[in-house]
Symmetry: C3
Subunit: 354 residues, 3 copies
């Protein structure tokens, strides 16, 4: 396959993504992987055989096929495409007398889902998903919500077993937070795991428009078996912005990048209205936790059905080098006649560092 671009000199995930953020980086070409010994069997080069079947009846059929293929190629070559704005960025707290303080402002913004496609979004801190909060079991946390929207709102910490008055359900546990007002939540983080925060007021609309984010709680005593080199949160959505992973549609989605031999922890979270069975090519996923609770025994799969409100944590042993398609297997959420779009990204397993 000599028509493939050479492998970019990518040495780390950070490096890869930095380049990805400034230019459309060519994907690591599979050609380069021929040099990598396969642990199971030698892989022969794929053979492009000469045409043995009769040509299609009309010459225009081939032209149409070429035109469709060009659209597909364009999407894949553009990946990871640069767009304005990035959600799910780690939010550093301010420390006030031992309390981790987070400030979240809900406001309406423009959000670029794919190159050139801008939508109106309701966002926390101008990000979709909102910034990632990552704390430790037992931490004291204060979250100050400021409402710059035209509707009242609230925050529910989905999965955290908080005292009732911190649960964020207007009229049941607190008054709604009116436009222009603020509300402060404060609690000691009770249970570890992959959780979420989102609006619980007019939520079908407000969450669908982007008022959601990941709330990760590291356990006080992490299990050695759960140690990972890369820890990646993937928020699925299918609301007002279309089919998205972390607020972006392919080719603007972010690849998950690791080196061969590393372990990747993926934290799937569904903030949408449909199930999304996420399929990873090339390697299996070992499921270790559901909604932040360890499964009694890990189990393996390559397609994991993630329902709205669910969180699933999996580990991937990156044994198989290459750039691997990674997408929702409800195919209309991932591909059209114009090429891949929506809930598609890639797991990039780079050759091990030397």
């Amino acid at each position: 396959m000599p028509d493939r671009p050479a492998v970019p000199s990518v040495t780390s995930r950070r490096d890869f993504l930095r380049k990805g953020a400034t230019a459309a980086v060519a994907l690591p070409a599979v050609a380069s992987l021929a040099a990598c010994a396969d642990t199971r069997a030698a892989a022969p080069a794929a053979v492009q055989a000469p045409a043995q079947a009769p040509p299609p009846p009309q010459p225009s059929a081939r032209d149409k096929a070429d035109a469709m293929d060009a659209m597909h190629e364009k999407g894949i070559k553009a990946f990871p495409a640069k767009t304005e704005g990035k959600g799910n960025q780690l939010l550093e707290p301010k420390l006030e007398k031992g309390v981790k303080v987070y400030e979240l402002t809900a406001e309406e913004i423009d959000w670029e889902v794919e190159p050139g496609r801008k939508v109106r979004a309701w966002a926390y801190n101008r990000q979709v998903p909102g910034p990632q909060i990552r704390v430790r079991e037992g931490d004291r946390v204060r979250v100050k919500l400021t409402n710059q929207l035209s509707q009242s709102t609230s925050i529910h910490f989905h999965g955290l077993e908080l005292p009732n008055d911190q649960d964020g359900v207007p009229f049941l546990t607190q008054p709604p937070v009116k436009p222009g007002e603020s509300f402060t939540y404060e609690f000691t983080v009770p249970n570890a795991g992959s959780h979420m925060y989102h609006s619980h007021h007019n939520a079908a609309i407000q969450v669908g428009n982007g008022l959601l984010g990941p709330f990760i709680v590291e356990p006080r005593r992490p299990l050695p078996a759960h140690r990972a080199d890369v820890d990646y949160v993937m928020v699925l959505n299918d609301g007002a912005h279309g089919y998205t992973l972390n607020g972006k549609g392919f080719p603007a989605t972010e690849p998950v990048v690791c080196s061969r031999g590393q372990t990747v922890r993926l934290r799937f979270m569904n903030e949408g209205m449909m199930i999304h069975p996420m399929h990873l090519h090339g390697m299996h996923m070992t499921v270790i936790a559901k909604d932040g609770w360890d499964q009694p025994a890990p189990w393996k799969c390559d397609t994991l059905n993630v329902a709205p409100g669910e969180r699933w944590d999996v580990l991937v042993r990156a044994t198989n080098p290459g750039t691997w398609a990674f997408h929702c297997h409800i195919l209309p959420h991932a591909e059209s006649e114009h090429g891949m779009y929506g809930m598609v990204t890639a797991l990039v397993v780079q050759p091990a560092a030397v």
Copy 2:
């Protein structure tokens, strides 16, 4: 939060629900829960901060927000709202020579789903869901079905491993039961668990209209680990009557009520056409059985995906006092701009009795 009503003097689930059936009982106010020591950490009162952000540009925005909030408040304040008719009521059998005899009449009725919204329903014994049958493994059971509908019908005992001629599939295992006729099923109950009975003739219509009910089989030797203080069957539906829990939409749904320290067993059953990932706030659920069969090891979650035809049994340790939202997390099944509706109820954990 001084605008909250005082806690009603509710001392038991029965008492709570009896009051709930005669008047719109105010929910236990969260204010009262401040007096309850929290086992994990002291919970500070939520702080309603003075407005620090600039007011929204147009005064009418606030008016619109207030109007929306008023609709939301009205729904929650009405919960649990009184409606005519109650489904899933325990049906006491007649005993005939050691056989438990149940009579079920299928007929068309008016059914009040929410206050003032009446629909046509096809019901067993004028209930949606039909009356709850609760027997013991090994019991001899006779079920006499009388068909007062304008269509033929039948009953399939979904989950019971019956002899083939008791399986209720017209033309495959029995003739259809014609309008005006009766059919008697009789069997020895073979397997324990949370099962269902429903029509298996023109079923997409007949079950969608209400011909369904729970069939609970207590095991001969219950596991001590499954002992529960409250045993609650929750039938999910999304057919002709909209999104319902036990035949009612919020705010006419029934809260699940327990005291702090108790264990609640929930038996989810989906008789609809869509998945419903049920999300409990404030506490996790420990999944113990699927379709009536014990899981090899219990596992925990806060959002449980229940597919059509499935039954899932979970235990909840009621450690966290308060009134907790409990709803399908496909948000359009639970909330609109007019407030919560459909598949929403609450788990009410009352302060432990003194």
Copy 3:
């Protein structure tokens, strides 16, 4: 039930199916099963009671009910109905120097989904699903794809952990295979289990139209606990051809046939765009594997939710004789007012051979 046909003299699954392929074979009548001792309890004959309820007001209601019932009866009596074409047929490889060689030709054909309903299908080797490939862990396999379609295509081996350049994703791991051209995949089979092969180019359309098939990998060391007498692959689909099991809609679906006392292994695969909770009557299923990976502990159910891209392997101990309905429990996928259709088949447990 004297109106039932006598049991056909069926002595084996092969015999049953051969007859089924040439004529509409009557189902084993339940009447005959009365002779079979039940292991749990004696089953009384169902009693058709005389009408005790008043007759329905208008005579025409009964006529309408009879007319509807006649449509339902017609469908069940026609099962298994003869149609042209059969998918999922075992494909024998050519052996070339120790390599198992399979040839797959993608082309557009007419496909009879139900008696008289023909659709355009995109098929491998003129079958929907494509022919079943069944190999052993560690086998060397060559698959030559010839594209006779008017669009480019490719094959992704869904679930196999192949070297990247054999993964079948155009522009990511290989060029698209143009109309009239061929492409050869070759690999050593890395992991056992129930896998699939399908197009990964314009896949929402191409897979929806039929470019899919099962790829079964027998383990090198099969677990004795997984031994089965019947091994049946059931591919679910809901694309351009409607709701199908192995490419056919009821009554043209194929029954799964076994003898009492046998063990049946079912391999569910969802190649569609919706979940399908498959419900078996009369016996439970023991789930042993997900996506080809053994579950850490087997678990039981009677309704198994199969999401797009997932494969689930279950064992059924055929303890309960009779012809058992077996269908998707999203009822509109299985029944209309005109009778059963779509995703419905039967598990036929014949009396044990003497």
